[in-house]
């Protein structure tokens, strides 16, 4: 088996609080992404999914910082290389697309300028060549008349087109890994379906590996090979999407799946997850999900269950489904 493209090992992210103590939001996570593979990272707000991806990109803003672990990419630990090296990797080898296309684009620069900036930051090409690449990439993400559209400003694009433009910026240098953080949350359902299809298509045609972050397991399952479920800063379950969808082992995964209503079957009250995710600095001693878990017993509250490997699925639960 070949080496994984990205391997996250024991990653921890924390904040210094007012009294100088360390509050950890990501508490030692491990998972890897193979070349060309699509992995979904799911969990509620506050599970640590976005923070861990920002840590991988080394884009954490103060006061958050990485407090432990390694992020191996291409045989190098991204957390220990110097900033100049990291800048060369960011945008060229690993690119990221964010939730809100409106605030991710500079409103004062044309779309074309923003894409050519990315190209010229990483490749020694002429202005004309950069513009040609930009037009080609914009065309690639499904924007018609791309040559003319390069001169448009972000406000002249609809929400869906802006997200396409951001994806164009991300793939302009043909990265090997694309991290998409809730890329469709701000969009209409029909546009969401189009963006999901686009990401699936880019992955198939260009062989780009994808990490897709979302709180909606149903949405993620439409395009990924594997799912990583996070809760309270920990990976609580991961495995092939088919196995996770058919037979989730962690009660949290099961509930996350069940609380999304379907367009078929009987209508009745929705399954809910009572309570809310643990607050930073008030993590339960044992399993982070134990206060909300219908299956919890006394051991769950005091002892953190280890990640157990069952064939190709892993889960951290004392009382799995």
């Amino acid at each position: 088996m070949s080496a994984p493209l990205l391997s996250i090992e024991g990653l921890r992210v924390g904040f210094r609080n007012a009294s100088g103590g360390l509050v950890e939001a990501v508490r030692g996570i491990d998972f890897s992404v193979e070349p060309g593979e699509a992995v979904g990272v799911v969990g509620e707000s506050g599970s640590g999914k976005s923070l861990s991806m920002l840590a991988v990109m080394r884009l954490l803003g103060s006061p958050a910082r990485t407090t432990g672990g390694r992020v191996m990419f291409d045989g190098r630990d991204l957390l220990s290389i110097d900033e100049a090296r990291m800048r060369a990797i960011r945008g060229r080898d690993i690119a990221m697309v964010f939730q809100d296309p409106q605030s991710s684009l500079n409103p004062a620069l044309t779309i074309g300028r923003q894409i050519t900036d990315v190209v010229r930051a990483h490749r020694r090409v002429s202005g004309t060549e950069a513009r040609r690449i930009a037009a080609e990439t914009l065309e690639r993400v499904g924007i018609r008349d791309a040559g003319k559209r390069l001169d448009a400003y972000p406000h002249e694009f609809s929400g869906g087109m802006r997200q396409r433009a951001l994806i164009a910026m991300a793939i302009a240098c043909r990265p090997r890994l694309l991290i998409a953080d809730e890329p469709t949350t701000a969009l209409d359902v029909t546009v969401q379906a189009q963006i999901v299809d686009l990401i699936a298509e880019l992955r198939r045609d260009l062989g780009i590996a994808v990490i897709f972050i979302s709180h909606n397991l149903q949405l993620v399952a439409e395009i990924v090979d594997r799912v990583v479920v996070m809760y309270g800063g920990k990976v609580v379950e991961d495995g092939p999407v088919e196995a996770i969808e058919r037979e989730p082992r962690h009660p949290y995964t099961g509930l996350l799946q069940a609380c999304v209503p379907s367009l078929t079957g009987p209508v009745g009250p929705l399954v809910t997850i009572e309570g809310s995710p643990p607050r930073l600095g008030r993590m339960p001693q044992g399993c982070p999900f134990s206060p909300r878990c219908p299956r919890a017993e006394s051991r769950c509250e005091t002892q953190m269950p280890p990640l157990v490997v069952d064939f190709d699925q892993r889960f951290a639960c004392w009382r799995p489904l």
Binding site: F157, G159, A193, A221, E222, I223, E245, V260, L263
Partner: protein, 288 residues
């Protein structure tokens, strides 16, 4: 009384977009948000209004509560024209139709505690001062929140809690009709389920008439008995919720259904949906 509690008759809303030159040349550059929409809501109905941004569903809600004046057409509340009722600005009609907004962080005053937000609303309804505290706590209990949240400020609450406070505030007026504009779209799936169950319980327990505006068809299916599908300022399809969703007749309804995430099963359907989607999305996107 047997007539509809709320009726909209030929509602049109257009916004002027033209510049001086356009007006001089007599060019029609108005943007039509609603184009002659008529509908009737019976007492106790739970109606879902679905459509994408730009379909006019939020404009419709805003007109129904009297926050926006229609360009033409009339809103009737229990048979009485809203335009006439509105002359009495703070009149009793205000209490009868309330709205819960999409973005709970901007709908609540950041400097007012939960309890103050609710007691002020209760004062508007004319609840005596001595009873307001107790009544505010009762409202919190109604929406499933504990009394310990009463002294908190909006930023000290989670998104789901804020959304419930917004609902409690609307319900504190004891409305007959509640209009909820995308009340769960900013929430995590687990919290969405909690708020949907809450709305479902409230309509049953209080006999509330509910207009639920959403772009999520699966949520509408769970909550509503009737569905209205809107596109570009007009109603394209309506009927009993399960009938419409199981046997959609309009292509646009079919497109919305195809776009709902369906897990692994959704993979193949997407390819098919993209075929239908392209003409509409192209029109939409080049317009946007």
């Amino acid at each position: 009384m047997t007539g509809p509690i709320l009726s909209l008759r030929g509602i049109t809303k257009s916004y002027g977009q033209g510049n001086a030159l356009d007006r001089l040349l007599g060019r029609d550059t108005r943007f039509v948000a609603l184009d002659g929409v008529s509908l009737e809501i019976a007492r106790g109905d739970v109606v879902g209004i679905v459509g994408e941004s730009g379909s006019g569903k939020s404009t419709l809600a805003s007109i129904a509560v009297g926050l926006t004046k229609p360009t033409s057409g009339e809103v009737l509340l229990d048979g009485e024209p809203l335009s006439a009722l509105m002359r009495d600005h703070g009149g009793p009609w205000r209490r009868r139709i309330q709205m819960a907004f999409q973005d709970s962080s901007s709908a609540l005053n950041p400097r007012k505690s939960v309890s103050r937000c609710l007691t002020e609303t209760l004062a508007l309804r004319g609840v005596p001062k001595a009873e307001r505290e107790a009544e505010a706590l009762a409202m919190l209990t109604l929406v499933g929140l504990g009394a310990e949240l009463a002294p908190r400020l909006p930023h000290e609450l989670s998104g789901g809690q804020r959304q419930r406070v917004g609902l409690a505030r609307a319900l504190a007026m004891k409305p007959d009709i509640l209009i909820a504009d995308e009340p769960v779209s900013s929430l995590d799936v687990s919290l969405q389920a909690q708020v949907i169950n809450l709305l479902s319980r409230l309509t049953r327990e209080l006999g509330l008439t509910l207009l639920f505006i959403s772009h999520d068809l699966a949520l509408v299916r769970t909550l509503c008995s009737r569905i209205i599908v809107m596109r570009k300022g007009a109603i394209v399809e309506q009927g009993p919720c399960l009938d419409v969703l199981d046997h959609p007749t309009h292509t646009y309804t079919q497109l919305l259904i195809a776009a709902v995430p369906k897990g692994i099963k959704g993979r193949r359907q997407h390819a098919a949906a993209a075929q239908i989607a392209s003409p509409i999305s192209t029109a939409r996107e080049s317009a946007g």
